[in-house]
Symmetry: C2
Subunit: 246 residues, 2 copies
């Protein structure tokens, strides 16, 4: 389990240790605030993913498909539970930690409501993938407990073989769906980047953490840009796995 408290971060005596360690750079209070923001956005992301996958399961063509998407939703909820417990173990109300991210994540889902089962599957796969990439980007900058949790959640992300099979065989049956789903994938990525940039612009501590810890003076737009490039490249690879141009 990764629910232990982290007295190191809350220790006022450590406040002078600015920039002595790349992995824990910056004033501990600010670092802790950034970690809480990160866990907050992940937690709210997981519970909204749960809600949307559960909703998309209603469009399943068969009961087996419905159960497969519901199982993905349930996996996201269990991730949420772990993240919530970890936030609480830091002495922070999980709802408070999630609150700043409600609007951007709800906006993302409002702008990307799937019109049918296949769009829902592509969204589940692409969304899961972007979330996993994002986890990977930040895991290196976290304290050991938070890092262990993020890595555990990341390892548990799965069920993607089901989506790949379903999308590829739908394209085999009717090659025209590939064009529509490729457009859909581009729109998903565009909306994800647009909401991520909105969050980054508004949350300085979180942005600093993303670009390499709080030791970085100010907000490094270039490094943020490189991170988005890496995430975009990974998205392209995933679209290809589905048999889709990106």
């Amino acid at each position: 389990m990764t629910e232990g408290t982290q007295p190191g971060n809350a220790d006022p005596a450590a406040d002078t240790a600015v920039g002595h360690d790349a992995a824990h750079a910056g004033p501990p209070e600010a670092a802790r605030a950034a970690v809480v923001e990160l866990l907050g956005v992940l937690a709210y992301g997981e519970i909204t993913a749960f809600e949307r996958l559960a909703e998309d399961a209603k469009m399943a063509p068969t009961l087996d498909d419905k159960a497969a998407l519901a199982a993905m939703a349930v996996a996201e909820f269990h991730h949420f539970e772990r993240l919530r417990a970890h936030i609480a173990s830091l002495g922070v109300d999980p709802a408070d930690a999630m609150e700043p991210f409600v609007t951007p994540l709800d906006e993302f889902h409002r702008h990307t409501a799937p019109a049918d089962w296949l769009e829902g599957l592509v969204k589940a796969y692409v969304g899961d993938g972007i979330a996993a990439d994002f986890y990977r980007e930040v895991a290196a900058h976290l304290d050991p407990d938070s890092r262990a949790l993020v890595e555990e959640v990341l390892r548990d992300t799965g069920h993607s073989a089901f989506v790949v099979d379903a999308v590829r065989s739908a394209i085999e049956r009717d090659p025209r769906v590939a064009g529509r789903l490729a457009l859909w994938g581009r729109r998903l990525m565009g909306e994800a980047l647009s909401q991520a940039q909105r969050v980054a612009a508004e949350r300085d501590a979180l942005s600093a953490l993303l670009v390499g810890g709080l030791a970085v003076p100010g907000f490094d737009l270039a490094e943020m840009g490189r991170m988005f490039t890496r995430i975009t490249e990974a998205h392209t690879a995933r679209m290809a796995t589905l048999g889709l141009a990106s």
Copy 2:
């Protein structure tokens, strides 16, 4: 775990053992068909409960409330997983076992879409309660493996304290909601009975199992009536727990 196969039920040599045991009365093939029907309706009931609770979680006034309802949904999905595994262990395709119950259960949910968060909570509580009563009615008539599974699922049904607290404090804040929710509870029960009677009328094997095993000659409408009376009385007690007239 209760996922062992049951060669006893599939053994043609046992076909002559009609009525020799109250718990396994009737021709084993018919009894097995009835058990599969029962597990099928329970499994589809659980996965639709998952879907509806996940949908109702979107109406939650706070993130904590949303997480509480989502946790109820996830518990239902885990029940579904156990029931599905048990059906498969009997050599039956779970989707086939569920199929006859898709229309009546979907109709129930279509007729009882909650208009707001409180209606969703009352539906979750009342629906969970009716399902639990139904489990209790049938558990006695099942083979030991199926009975153990149903009892396990029943024990795991919970989270109701959250609903009771939320509904009672909403009534405290505004006593007028009690009248509206009481009407809603009556409508839920009416729809549940109406769909249950529809299922009972169409599924002879299942009905026979419900009224005391397949040894009962024909379809005992009087015993079925008594069962519905017991379930109605339990519903009245639950409504009172919520602070609602029934």
